[in-house]
Symmetry: C2
Subunit: 305 residues, 2 copies
């Protein structure tokens, strides 16, 4: 199953000529999860041939325009192009009010159900679950209410070793084996040991999106050993005071958090427009955490099982 | 003095891969007038190296998203990049309320004065005047309150033929000559005929922007003999019923209006996304009005004196 992240934009505050505002598409299986939706997201989706009709959920981290000014346009386009599938929108208080006002003045009555889930951005909390994944908020520390999102695959079934399976097993017993149980007789004695007939399950993958935030080491428990961590890195470390003052982070700080959390792969983004060349940000992060990449728009990061 | 129009986008409703939503910059002298502001306008301004700090006025025709979803982002960027010059915003009722709500939730206190002028979209009315131009609304007929805009240079002074000017003239008399008066003695007798010492003034140029509208021949009085007319042409004429039903126009209708109004040059735009190739729209209009062009993004149309 696919588990891959496509970057649509990663410019902070003001866009630059070749960098759009923040938006990312996380593909899990055949569903798209859109994470933030800066201005121009619908054009970026077209550019990268990502069908917006396959977006099931949209997550907005906070109400600074560079993270959501593309949302009303994208939803309007979904409507105009005949979407009927419900769309789930997760965002901070205020987002629903803004959209409702825009749609009121445009006379838009959406022809699909827009289900708004208002987020408590101050805590770690499960906000979505289906048979394959869970999504939790991660509290950020920014100038307005802001949270990140942790996407995690649920535990996967243990593959059965068919040639080792005895004939007497019935379907319910096969299910129990897949989920790690031994098979017992009526007296409670083990008659088939799980580890003899199953393999280790495939890894459950995870992606953590840390939106705009001051450096916040207390995020560690949420980020521990995630496969892929996106963390904002608006500035290089010589501007650490400015980062702190504006509730942003430096590339070094992002990398320190990645190292402490022992993640597998770090992406940095939300680059200040002052950096035409992004290599100083990358070098600074890689000095602390080697496996770092830039969240350049258009790039894809796959997480393997 | 420059009087030129730059097209930033001309796609209707939903954007296509290479066509942005409606936005235009009319340069008059050293000032920029931004007409509509679809999503991505700030990126388009950057692409064409148009400095947003020189935009003095923004005019929003109506509150369908394809005409204003780039506005909040552009204003935010002006703010973040330190604008201090007041900005005048002309738009229908509701626009100010939407922006205020967005800025409330982003915690934005603009560091320049945003002067909002609420428009009555139902009438022809002067909404702006400076020493060189006037701007009037033109009432459109659309699904929501909508108006176009007529930009018109004021009458220009008559150039003086210096070698024919008698020595006795004082500065106030020279001014009167420039504005077409004869010079008289105290008894009221003409002592210097204006036409003997002045030339015809340069032409006063005009641009009419007709935003989304059903075909509306009663626009004629406002459009008569304008130099440059932009008129929406969402559909080809085989879809005339659809145009009427959706309060839009066809290319042929736009051209018929241009011909009846005896304008000098017609631009058509607001193309439906169904037209990947725009030549049928152009051909259809040119059959009625030869001097028609497509409002392709990036193109510039100069009006000569």
């Amino acid at each position: 199953m696919d588990f891959e992240l496509r970057i649509l934009g990663s410019s902070s505050a003001t866009p630059s000529a070749n960098r759009h505002h923040t938006a990312q598409v996380l593909t899990i299986g055949n569903q798209y999860h859109l994470v933030d939706c800066g201005e121009g997201t619908q054009m970026q989706l077209m550019l990268y041939k990502i069908k917006h009709q396959r977006i099931c959920n949209i997550y907005i981290s906070h109400l600074h325009g560079d993270h959501y000014f593309g949302l009303a346009g994208l939803i309007s386009t979904m409507h105009l192009q005949g979407r009927q599938t419900p769309l789930h929108l997760f965002g901070p208080p205020g987002l629903s009010e803004i959209l409702s006002l825009q749609f009121k003045y445009s006379g838009t009555n959406l022809n699909f159900k827009l289900v708004f889930h208002e987020l408590d951005t101050t805590c770690y909390k499960k906000i979505f679950e289906d048979k394959g994944i869970t999504v939790h908020t991660i509290p950020m520390e920014h100038r307005v209410p802001c949270c990140g999102f942790l996407f995690r695959e649920k535990q996967k079934p243990r593959p059965l070793i068919k040639e080792k399976l005895p004939d007497f097993l019935r379907p319910p017993q096969l299910v129990r084996l897949k989920w790690g149980e031994d098979i017992k007789d009526e007296a409670g004695n083990i008659i088939l040991r799980n580890s003899d007939v199953t393999l280790e399950p495939k890894r459950s993958r995870s992606y953590a999106y840390c939106a705009d935030s001051r450096y916040k080491p207390d995020l560690l428990p949420y980020l521990r050993q995630v496969d892929l961590l996106y963390h904002e890195a608006t500035f290089t470390d010589d501007l650490r005071e400015r980062a702190d003052y504006t509730f942003h982070s430096t590339a070094r700080q992002a990398a320190e958090l990645a190292a402490a959390a022992q993640v597998r792969h770090l992406l940095i983004g939300h680059f200040s427009v002052r950096y035409k060349d992004l290599s100083p940000l990358l070098q600074e992060a890689q000095e602390v955490f080697t496996k770092t990449d830039l969240a350049i728009e258009g790039s894809i990061f796959c997480v393997r099982e």
